[in-house]
Symmetry: C2
DNA sequence: ACTTGACCTTGCCATCATGGTAAGGTTCAG
DNA sequence: CTGAACCTTACCATGATGGCAAGGTCAAGT
């Protein structure tokens, strides 16, 4: 009963930032968004972070790395904390995000394909003639309506 | 000599918006960025747009649709107007943008692939157990450094 | 004890392209 | 003369992040 290692750590925001991979600035921002409930303070006003807080920050970091928005992450954190959650509700959020990613990927691929084609057509030399500019300047793209 | 159709049009900003597919709001914004040189005004202060202005707006619209940033578009418009441009300089901008798109696409595909895998592993039922949350909460993702 | 550097605090501004809103002037049709 | 549909400018919001400024605190070295 002498050692309770994980409980009394009390890290500063800088240490919390290093341990979670989130910048100190963003740690404060996430707090203002209500993602970190009730941040403890020392007498001097410094924030102090428990292992549980660090874990939450790592959760947020991982979620951001997967492209979730702060709103989605807010919901995911709530579900994570809620023992009566359903995996269906988590899956729904993830699926919606994946769908959004797919749409954005497809839109960007279409841009890239068009660009690749135009780039391929362009000599890229000292002359001014340029199929890329011709495409951009072509009135053919204006929606008729 | 009676008809000179393309020269004397003098469109309002609303008409210019319709003809170019750019919102009136953005037309003003592009002007403030210096993309539309010297916008003529009527006596009452209304902006008036020539066919040349419309063409520029269509050029900008097409460039935006291909994902170019306003900074890039600013350069592209300059090159477009410059008879002494080289196609190489245009190609360079387009290639840099395409490269950027590719990086972003790859990053998003990686997110999507991870998500797709996790979603596939999740039952999506009434129980709380969820591989998606387990992944997000896993400390395995924290860069050891 | 004092200085120095590294940390912490809050608050404001900037990004990027776009939309919204407000408050007011103009034009045109009924 | 009135109302709708336009135009004007100016300000605020988005979303996630970075930067800077001005000030308080702490710990280590002199």
């Amino acid at each position: 009963m002498a050692d309770v290692p994980a409980a009394a750590a009390a890290l500063t925001i800088g240490e919390a930032a290093k341990r979670s991979g989130v910048s100190a600035k963003m740690v404060r921002h996430y707090e203002s968004l209500g993602l970190l409930p009730a941040v403890a303070r020392r007498l001097n006003g410094y924030r102090q972070y428990s292992e549980r807080d660090i874990h939450t920050l790592q959760f947020i970091k991982r979620s951001r790395d997967l492209g979730f928005s702060m709103l989605e992450i807010s919901e995911l954190v709530s579900l994570w904390r809620n023992r009566r959650r359903t995996s269906a509700s988590v899956k729904r959020i993830a699926q919606a995000h994946a769908d959004g990613l797919n749409k954005r990927i497809e839109a960007m691929q279409e841009m890239r394909n068009t660009l690749t084609h135009l780039i391929h057509c362009c000599h890229g030399d000292q002359r001014p003639d340029c199929p890329i500019l011709e495409d951009l300047a072509s009135p053919a793209h204006v929606k008729s309506h």
